[in-house]
């Protein structure tokens, strides 16, 4: 167990920010750390806390140090504070200060804006751990359980990264915000997490895979835009977080892919051609493809809501201030100011879903969302390859962005997955096909039986092609502590 009272911040907290000589941050972290450990200990069931998990730890930012694999008990995980190496003479990439040297200290005029962005990002990191806290109890394999815990500890480290920025650069306000990041709880009535999607429970593993594929990808896009920040410490922090985030999306993509793989195999083995022959498919203990489409619809649309309103003042302000850039800002070839430029967004005009031009500055969110959609489409294509290879006639699709929305111009409108306005009756009828029903949820839940034997997998999911850290198929990724 980590000795919270006598933490040696240079050995136990891997960092490249000179933590042990930064009195101000040390003092703040010493106060915050016990609350964090307490949060972690109360969160995940005790027997998992005591188990040895084969985890990757980042101990430094160089290629040799950022992925050290070993067995570790999660509460003893070394949550580090690691920033990508400083780029010499880095410049503010966008907005009215484009071309000026990047800020190494917080510019006073943007202090609040920066703080708000960091707090919102920081709030999502522990939130997903909270949402996923009970999943290990129904893990389909030790391999998957290990991946879940890897994602969890890294989200914990991401929280550390944001807390470090708050402690280092935002004084008393920053310390208070850092405390509140531990005070809010996903789904809590008392103090819920800031964004709606992070207050929903993750009830099963398919939801977890969908979440890591779609919702973590929103996180990735937010990090991408913060990685372009003119505030250099934020940019460096986010650049390093992105390396970890890639793994989370890998867990999601391969998780859904392996589920699809298993369904296709079982259909073939049993001579089922029609992917919609749900009863027969479900009787065989695998998840039918139409249900996977429904889950996809749900998680994709919830994630779109995280990008906010179509036309956003806050996003415009942040871009113009140089606090937040576009996806891969430095590779774009325009003037990085967007004055006078326009961007095409969806809107409703005279009862129809149409495209229109708006000032590009206020459409920053939408541009990022479009980049997100392109990024998300990649994995969907690879999933379809699996189906195609199996010779089954079915294609997964991303629904139209107007479908099933709670935020923006399409919020609560009667629109189908193709983006067409429909009647209330058609909507009610269609929803049975488009989104998972409670009965679908019951079915998935019925499959969620834990499989804790090394090398074994639940009925509904195929084993991975390669092991983590190239370990063999029967590797014991988690040495369970059974009290």
């Amino acid at each position: 167990m980590l000795d919270v009272i006598n933490v040696s911040y240079d050995t136990q907290i891997p960092n490249n920010v000179g933590l042990s000589s930064d009195k101000k941050v040390l003092k703040a972290l010493e106060k915050w750390h016990p609350g964090y450990i307490d949060w972690w200990n109360k969160l995940i069931p005790q027997n998992f806390q005591e188990s040895l998990v084969y985890l990757r730890t980042a101990v430094s930012v160089d290629p040799k140090g950022w992925a050290k694999f070993d067995y570790v008990k999660m509460p003893e995980y070394r949550w580090g504070v690691l920033l990508a190496p400083q780029v010499e003479d880095r410049r503010i990439p966008c907005g009215e200060h484009a071309g000026e040297p990047a800020w190494q200290e917080v510019p006073g005029e943007y202090r609040n804006m920066l703080k708000r962005l960091i707090v919102i990002q920081g709030d999502t990191e522990p939130a997903s751990v909270e949402q996923q806290r009970l999943l290990a109890l129904m893990a389909p394999s030790l391999y998957d359980m290990r991946n879940l815990f890897q994602v969890n500890v890294e989200e914990g480290r991401h929280l550390w990264a944001m807390v470090y920025l708050l402690h280092k650069y935002f004084g008393r306000d920053g310390r208070e915000e850092a405390d509140d990041l531990l005070r809010r709880q996903s789904g809590s009535e008392e103090a819920p997490r800031m964004l709606g999607a992070f207050n929903e429970e993750t009830p099963d593993w398919l939801s977890f895979f969908m979440f890591t594929y779609f919702t973590d990808r929103d996180g990735k896009m937010q990090l991408e835009s913060l990685a372009q920040s003119g505030f250099d410490p934020l940019s460096r922090t986010c650049r390093f977080m992105l390396t970890e985030e890639a793994h989370h999306m890998f867990v999601g993509e391969t998780g859904v892919g392996r589920t699809i793989q298993r369904t296709c195999e079982v259909m073939k083995e049993n001579g089922i051609e029609d992917p919609c022959d749900t009863d027969r498919i479900r009787a065989l203990g695998v998840i039918d493809l139409p249900l996977i489409q429904k889950k996809l619809n749900l998680h994709y649309t919830l994630s779109l809501d995280l990008f906010g309103q179509e036309v956003s003042t806050n996003a415009a302000n942040a871009f113009n201030a140089g606090i937040k850039g576009r996806y891969q800002e430095i590779r774009l070839t325009d003037d990085h100011k967007l004055t006078g430029d326009t961007y095409t967004v969806w809107d409703i005009v005279d009862g129809k879903v149409v495209q229109k031009e708006v000032p590009a500055l206020t459409a920053i969110n939408m541009r990022l969302r479009d980049d997100y959609t392109r990024d998300a489409a990649g994995g969907v294509g690879r999933w379809n390859k699996i189906i195609e290879k199996a010779g089954i006639d079915f294609e997964l699709k991303l629904p139209h962005e107007a479908f099933h929305r709670k935020i923006g111009v399409f919020a609560d409108k009667l629109i189908d997955p193709e983006g067409r306005f429909i009647t209330g009756a058609e909507y009610d009828e269609g929803m049975k096909e488009w989104l998972p029903s409670h009965a679908d949820g019951d079915y998935i839940q019925s499959l969620m039986k834990p499989v804790y034997e090394p090398g074994k997998y639940a009925s509904w999911i195929a084993p991975p092609k390669v092991g983590i850290d190239n370990k063999p198929g029967d590797f014991e990724y988690v040495k369970l502590h059974m009290a």
Partner: protein
């Protein structure tokens, strides 16, 4: 933006932005602004932001709360939306509005805030703000005007006055004044608070006196309900009174006139003046309060006040170029005194009190109206009691002296009642007579000694109750010359001059709001840093910040 006529009359069947749930002594007032329900084109009322239309409904609700729901002792104001209490005045509306509209909008919203703020002291109706979600700018000013502020402690909900850092304007609906004068926040902390965008939440909001109570989120509704019950139990309002219906005003709007049952407004666009004639009671005063209640909204004292109130608002917003209001009365002064006397004798009757309070508010509207005001005390007029108060609200008054040829109306007189000595105080807390004779107690006492006496021109002049008395020979010419001269002056200079001269005497929170705060706000509303093409208001939402002229003025 003012082409369309703005109507201040509405009723619950037409509300789009608020709803009220009545539960015995506690009413819950939900702000749930319809995004697409803006008064004008060109903006959406997102996040419970408001425009004049939203405020007109609020004003109607608080008026009805007083008259139609005497049983209500506590009003809980809260949001009908998740995550936001109220985002304040709509910025795009402000950015697109003419200067004159902004000024009038602020004035009306200030009057509305003052009205429900005073409801506790005036009639035992207490407003509680129950804040969940963000409560910024005009949103927090709505809460500040409540008598008790409760904030949930969900680690996200906050109160803020971000106008200065965000919009380059002031929290001008009483915000700057109430944090110091009412909440008694220390001025250095107020400086910190008013210069931060994100506001203050949780325990510190209480520590800094921004709210009265911070409540754990899970117990918020319960605690609000508990507080409402406690306050209701402590209210002096009657339990068993039944309200009266505020029936629609009888009003006809013509091209050159607006006609009510007791008020006639003639519009002289060429002469840039409006003549407002108030007609005294048609018959005897009701014998007692029971009879008065039976008359309800038809009772002259109530009807006249409501009609005058509407006429003032109508002229302010819809007839901005009519810079001079000529105020006349017609009727029997003895009847006016008698109708008022019934209410004065029954001040502790809830309805008598409400009607007198309405007169007080309506007369205050006159005080802060940016028009030159002149009263003509003609033969056949009835400047008595409550109507005599108009004489002391105007900038000047002219009174007919002696008989006029071919005019057989009763001689022009003025009659004071006890009400002129404190029943209808101005925003400065003094009666209009006391303000008129500031520092001259003897003149106040001399006037008081004439209560009930019918004063003809010479006596009124001697007591200093009118500006000039004029006989048949001079009357017409003098009045004409005065009006022509007035019409030739700069409307801005006149507004400034009049607003200064009207409020002699002490400052109160109210005079500070209408004088200091609004005057500075109106100045800022004219400055490029806020409203210029590169100013913060215009640029708000574009992502580009205001480009400021850095010279301090």
């Amino acid at each position: 933006m003012t082409e369309k006529m703005i109507d201040f009359q509405t009723d619950p069947s037409r509300y789009r932005h608020w709803r009220v749930e009545y539960d015995g002594p506690v009413a819950t007032l939900y702000m749930d602004v319809d995004e697409d329900g803006g008064l004008f084109e060109g903006y959406q009322l997102k996040l419970n932001s408001y425009d004049l239309g939203v405020d007109i409904e609020l004003s109607d609700i608080i008026q009805r709360m007083r008259f139609e729901h005497p049983e209500v002792k506590v009003v809980v104001m809260r949001s009908g939306k998740d995550n936001v209490f109220c985002a304040g005045a709509n910025i795009r509306m402000l950015g697109g509005a003419a200067h004159s509209h902004k000024v009038n909008f602020c004035k009306f919203t200030n009057e509305t805030r003052n009205t429900y703020e005073a409801a506790e002291a005036d009639s035992g109706q207490k407003y509680i703000a129950a804040i969940k979600g963000s409560c910024a700018g005009g949103g927090y000013e709505l809460a500040l005007a409540c008598n008790y502020i409760m904030l949930t402690d969900d680690s996200t909900s906050s109160v803020a006055l971000p106008e200065v850092p965000l919009l380059a304007v002031l929290p001008g609906t009483g915000g700057l004044t109430r944090v110091t004068d009412k909440r008694q926040m220390r001025r250095d902390r107020a400086d910190v608070f008013c210069a931060m965008e994100e506001g203050i939440r949780g325990k510190r909001a209480k520590e800094w006196k921004l709210v009265d109570e911070v409540v754990p989120n899970s117990r918020f509704d319960e605690t609000v309900a508990e507080r409402a019950r406690e306050f209701a139990a402590a209210s002096p309002r009657p339990d068993d009174a039944t309200g009266i219906a505020l029936t629609p005003l009888k009003r006809e709007i013509g091209a050159d006139a607006v006609t009510y049952s007791t008020v006639e407004v003639e519009l002289d666009r060429k002469g840039r003046k409006a003549t407002i004639t108030v007609k005294g009671p048609e018959g005897d005063a009701p014998g007692d309060m029971e009879a008065f209640v039976a008359q309800g909204a038809e009772a002259w004292m109530l009807r006249a006040a409501r009609e005058l109130d509407d006429a003032i608002l109508h002229l302010r917003l819809n007839e901005m170029e009519l810079g001079l209001w000529v105020i006349r009365t017609e009727g029997d002064p003895a009847q006016v005194v008698a109708h008022e006397a019934l209410l004065l004798a029954n001040r502790d009757h809830w309805l008598a009190n409400e009607v007198l309070q309405l007169w007080k508010r309506m007369l205050k509207r006159v005080d802060v109206t940016s028009r030159s005001l002149v009263a003509l005390v003609e033969h056949g007029s009835c400047f008595a009691g409550a109507l005599a108060e108009l004489l002391f609200a105007v900038d000047r008054s002219y009174m007919m002296e002696d008989e006029f040829e071919g005019d057989n109306r009763p001689m022009a007189t003025v009659t004071l009642s006890e009400s002129n000595f404190g029943q209808y105080p101005m925003g400065n807390g003094l009666s209009r007579i006391a303000t008129r004779f500031i520092g001259d107690e003897a003149s106040v006492e001399a006037a008081r000694a004439t209560i009930g006496e019918v004063l003809e021109a010479e006596a009124a002049d001697e007591l200093g109750l009118v500006t000039y008395i004029l006989d048949d020979i001079d009357w017409e010419d003098e009045i004409r010359i005065f009006m022509e001269e007035r019409a030739s002056f700069s409307p801005d200079a006149l507004t400034g001059m009049e607003a200064n001269l009207r409020f002699a005497g002490p400052e109160t929170m109210e005079t500070r709001i209408f004088g200091r705060l609004t005057a500075w706000q109106n100045w800022i509303f004219n400055r490029p840093n806020a409203v210029g093409p590169d100013g913060a208001l215009q640029r708000y939402g574009s992502g580009v910040r205001g480009d400021y002229n850095l010279e301090r003025v």
